[in-house]
């Protein structure tokens, strides 16, 4: 393929490559991700474990909305004194022991 006249000269060389550039052998994906593998005969086998599925739970009786009342001001300082804060593993473990320790 050849670029249009406006890109002739050095301008085209400075632009990032697209899937249409280069000779055969150059592959550039489009951020869709890998969902399988190519077969040696030129085909493609889909690996269903790699295919993404979207699970939407039942929203029956769910009252929360994406918004919070502006009158309710956000409260800060829940992890005061704790340098690790919400990612403290000790806190997590202690909570687990109290809530989930005994099945």
């Amino acid at each position: 393929m050849q670029p249009t006249r406006i890109l002739q000269g050095m301008r085209y060389r400075k632009m990032p490559l697209t899937t249409k550039d280069m000779n055969k052998g150059f592959y550039k994906g489009n951020r869709t991700g890998n969902v399988g593998r190519h077969t040696k005969y030129g085909g493609f086998t889909v690996e269903w474990a790699k295919v993404r599925t979207y699970v939407c739970p039942s929203l029956e009786g769910f009252t929360l909305t994406p918004f919070v009342n502006t009158e309710k001001k956000p409260v800060w300082g829940a992890f005061k004194g704790d340098t690790k804060g919400p990612r403290n593993p000790e806190t997590y473990l202690a909570r687990w022991k109290s809530e989930n320790g005994f099945d």
Partner: protein, 291 residues
């Protein structure tokens, strides 16, 4: 004479009749001599009685040799679907009464299902998109601090509520642009940004929880109370739980915890004993901030 034309035709016409009759004789060679003699017309020098009429010859159109074709080569000249001229010639069904289309005003109303899922793409059933003032009537986004209290189920559902709201906003923006309904994109944009901020906060909380879990698993490997091998209970506390004393760990501590709005008190819960276990559980069960 009174009628010269009819009774005394021209020599040209007489010659034509002779020519016509002679060809007829050649075409039917199987005729007998007598019948051939009978076929010759009267005007030929040696003709017998036959058709004396000269009208066919006279009526025949005189064709000039080499004249061009003057017929209309277009059999469908003048026929137009757009102008509804109809056909030039009568067709076999021309006399049959054809059904006429119903006028759009007289058509029956289209039945729609009020519970159809596609209604969820619209903010308002009566108008396609909300007016800008109505669109701007929304609160602020959830903060990460507030979402940390929420369970996985709640966060999962809230995520999909946000996705649906984004779909609604996107539909409204698209319709507004397509039908040129007017202003409203700025308010829709602000609303969408708020929804996105909530979604970002949800992802933040879940990621944080996952990292904390990973670190906790690592820590649990070195904890003597916890057994991760899989045989036997995972957690065996070295201190037994003390008998619950009424008034301790139920009323006072819960009230204090709620005022602080604290998810987990670090100073008290580092070593789990009975009072902190109870206080920890009661603090977990407090209600989340309402919208």
């Amino acid at each position: 004479m009174a009628t010269p034309g009819a009774l005394r035709p021209s020599m040209g016409a007489a010659l034509q009749i002779c020519r016509a009759s002679s060809t007829r004789g050649i075409i039917a060679p199987t005729r007998t001599v007598t019948s051939r003699a009978a076929a010759r017309p009267a005007f030929c020098p040696s003709a017998q009685a036959a058709s004396l009429s000269t009208t066919p010859a006279l009526l025949r159109r005189h064709k000039y040799i080499g004249a061009r074709v003057t017929r209309d080569n277009n059999k469908k000249r003048g026929e137009s679907v757009l102008r509804r001229t109809g056909t030039r010639w009568r067709l076999s069904m021309s006399d049959e009464p054809l059904p006429q289309p119903v006028k759009p005003e007289e058509l029956p109303p289209i039945e729609t299902d009020p519970d159809h899922g596609l209604w969820q793409f619209f903010q308002n059933r009566n108008s396609i998109a909300n007016p800008p003032l109505k669109d701007a009537e929304h609160g602020r986004a959830w903060t990460v601090e507030e979402l940390r209290y929420k369970s996985w189920e709640d966060l999962h559902k809230l995520w999909w509520v946000c996705v649906k709201e984004q779909n609604r906003i996107a539909t409204a923006m698209w319709e507004r642009q397509n039908r040129q309904l007017g202003y409203g994109d700025a308010e829709s944009d602000t609303r969408r940004k708020t929804v996105k901020a909530t979604q970002k906060a949800i992802k933040h909380v879940l990621t944080e929880r996952f990292y904390a879990w990973e670190d906790a698993v690592e820590l649990a490997k070195s904890d003597p109370e916890i057994d991760l091998s899989g045989d036997g209970p995972a957690f065996t506390p070295k201190e037994y739980l003390e008998e619950e004393v009424p008034g301790l760990g139920s009323g006072e501590e819960v009230a204090r915890e709620e005022v602080k709005a604290n998810g987990s008190d670090v100073a008290t819960s580092s070593t789990p004993d009975s009072s902190t276990l109870l206080s920890a559980t009661s603090s977990e069960q407090k209600t989340a901030p309402t919208i």
